[in-house]
């Protein structure tokens, strides 16, 4: 619907029906302290009964409030958000901290996993920053980022900015005081998802599959363990976030199936960059970017030989996992368990 259609629609329908058709309109009324307004009338008439002083406190009159409502509806009453289709991301090299050229042109396609390795402070976050702001040779690194093989003009850049990249990091916590269900519902509503219930259920099942220890849907998100929180964040990002690119800063070792987590994200046709020191995660990636002196030193493709060692590393990892589980269940650890 265009703004004009909304004007006609709002004028000719009682508020109770508008709320039925567009539940999000309730938020608008709450935002302007109009919750108690008469719902049996269309909004323009209902506003007649509101004291001017109340509207004035928001710097609005009746006309202004109506305009605000039309604008709100036009923005939020749409069906699901449309996301930008990003099928590839290309990094064109710039300069490192020593002003040496990076001779790099790396294209990552959706569904591909690339790890980023390098010592702390080597410039990993500079790379991730460049990707997030879609650098066009105008950041300190001089790199350029292409989307679907093309450079972006200012307008596209700012339209995409902020929506393109979802981030997951070890430092992240939940701060909302909500249950898992409420939390997922809030996110689904924020995305204006049509089939909210279905997505919530899917996210929840998926999170439980990833988590080492299962949790019920009415757990408070703030009470989840580190692994469970991470599992929920990953399931949520994979199923609900519209952002086509995901930047991950490590996935902790305990309480979550890392391999499955990365596979899940890759399956959702996203471009994934993982900054990690963990050989298991790094070798699971198709390629890895090595960062040195603030620049991309080289890109290594994970070879078959490396992949073979992945199995051995996994075995070590599983052994450690087994020890952890034994500890947790109160069993005794002995050396012969290693055999």
């Amino acid at each position: 619907m265009s703004t004009k259609d909304f004007v006609t629609y709002v004028k000719s329908n009682n508020l109770v029906d508008v709320l039925q058709d567009y539940p999000i309109a309730k938020d608008f009324l709450a935002n302007f302290r109009l919750d108690a307004i008469s719902k049996a009338l269309p909004l323009p008439q209902a506003l007649e009964e509101v004291e001017e002083e109340t509207l004035d406190e928001f710097g609005l009159d009746k006309h202004g409030m109506l305009q605000k409502f039309y604008m709100f509806m036009e923005n939020f009453a749409q069906r699901e958000e449309t996301s930008t289709t990003v099928s590839s991301l290309t990094i064109l090299g710039g300069l490192n901290k020593l002003k040496k050229r990076e001779s790099i042109e790396l294209t990552i396609v959706s569904g591909e996993v690339v790890s980023v390795v390098g010592p702390t402070g080597s410039g990993k976050s500079r790379l991730l920053n460049d990707i997030e702001c879609l650098a066009q040779r105008d950041t300190p690194t001089g790199r350029q980022i292409l989307i679907n093989g093309e450079a972006l003009d200012e307008i596209q850049r700012f339209e995409m900015g902020g929506k393109l990249v979802a981030q997951l990091s070890q430092n992240m916590n939940f701060v909302m005081d909500l249950t898992v269900r409420e939390f997922l519902e809030k996110h689904a509503n924020g995305r204006l998802a049509k089939n909210a219930d279905e997505i919530v259920e899917k996210c929840f099942l998926c999170a439980n599959e990833l988590a080492g220890e299962k949790f019920p849907i009415d757990t408070k998100v703030t009470q989840l363990s580190g692994g469970q929180s991470r599992a929920l964040m990953i399931a949520d990002t994979a199923n609900m976030s519209n952002s086509p690119i995901i930047l991950i800063d490590e996935i902790e070792n305990a309480g979550i199936d890392r391999r499955q987590a990365v596979e899940l994200l890759a399956k959702s046709e996203k471009i994934i960059l993982i900054s990690t020191h963990d050989p298991l995660l790094a070798l699971m990636a198709d390629k890895r970017i090595v960062i040195k002196n603030g620049g991309i030193d080289r890109v290594i493709e994970t070879s078959d030989t490396e992949r073979k060692s992945l199995a051995a590393i996994e075995k070590i990892d599983n052994t450690l996992q087994m020890f952890r589980n034994r500890l947790r269940t109160g069993e005794i650890i002995t050396e012969d368990l290693l055999r």
Binding site: D27, F28, A30, N31, E57, F58, G59, M71, F72, N75, F76, S125, L128, N129, E132, C133, A135, D138, T139, E154, F158, G161, G162, A166, Q167, L168, S169, N171, M172, N173, F174, V175, M176, F183, L184, K186, H187, G190, R191, S229, M233, D236, T237, M240, S241, S243
Partner: protein, 230 residues
């Protein structure tokens, strides 16, 4: 000279964002100045001085912070022009949720943080509703979903605003903000420009120093809360 007004609740990260921003603007040292409007005390002077940024601080004290702001902003602009700045940034503290220091035609930025609670954007008044750009800080320590819901709530009350996530510690996101700031228009004076929103209605007896409680002492502009059964 360009003028940009930055406002936001206490401890939302205004100073950190401005410091990173000045770094990211890629302008000559000393060509950007800051005026900080605060209420009682401020510890930001040091942060700016350490970064070599010319700064002037004003305390509203017993005067309503918004009235104080409006009555001093033109002087601040003249100070900036005389100091030869290319850009002047004013920073003002949270004030009272009801007000905003924004002026028509002057680029305005509101800084709020992700930790302040999911419904906070819906509760903050004109300071957020009338801003051109809303900067959200501390996004690095909450989940992606919470960031998205938070931004959604900002959009609900300020549909037209540009929403930018900025990490005040690493400076992530500052590039976008700096690009918008370059679009701020040049001014020579604010004379005859208008605030985007009125400052609080006064004067009542409490404005003029009354401290006693009771109807007998209440005079001037008053608003009474209605309780049930009254």
């Amino acid at each position: 000279m360009k003028l940009v007004t930055v406002a936001g609740p206490p401890s939302s990260g205004k100073t950190s964002v401005i410091l990173k921003l000045i770094e990211g603007m890629d302008m000559d040292k000393g060509s950007i100045g800051v005026v900080k409007f605060d209420c009682l005390t401020s510890f930001d002077k040091l942060s700016y001085q350490e970064a070599g940024i010319p700064v002037h601080i004003g305390f509203s004290g017993k005067i309503c912070p918004d009235h104080y702001y409006v009555s001093n902003i033109e002087d601040a602009v003249q100070w900036g022009i005389q100091s030869g700045f290319d850009l002047l940034i004013t920073e003002s503290a949270g004030l009272c949720n009801r007000c905003s220091p924004y002026i028509n035609g002057i680029l305005s930025v509101c800084v709020i943080d992700n930790l302040s609670g999911i419904n906070t954007p819906r509760k903050i008044g004109p300071m957020m509703r009338f801003a051109d750009i809303v900067v959200i800080t501390k996004g690095d320590i909450v989940s992606q979903a919470e960031r998205e819901v938070f931004a959604f709530n900002v959009k609900q009350v300020n549909t037209a605003a540009k929403v930018i996530f900025v990490n005040g510690i690493t400076g992530q996101g500052i590039f976008l903000l700096a690009t918008f700031l370059k679009l701020a228009r040049d001014i020579r004076t604010l004379k005859d420009l208008k605030l985007r929103f009125t400052t609080p209605a006064a004067v009542c007896s409490y404005c003029t120093g009354e401290t006693r409680i009771g109807e007998a002492y209440q005079m001037g502009m008053l608003k009474k809360l209605e309780f049930d059964g009254k």
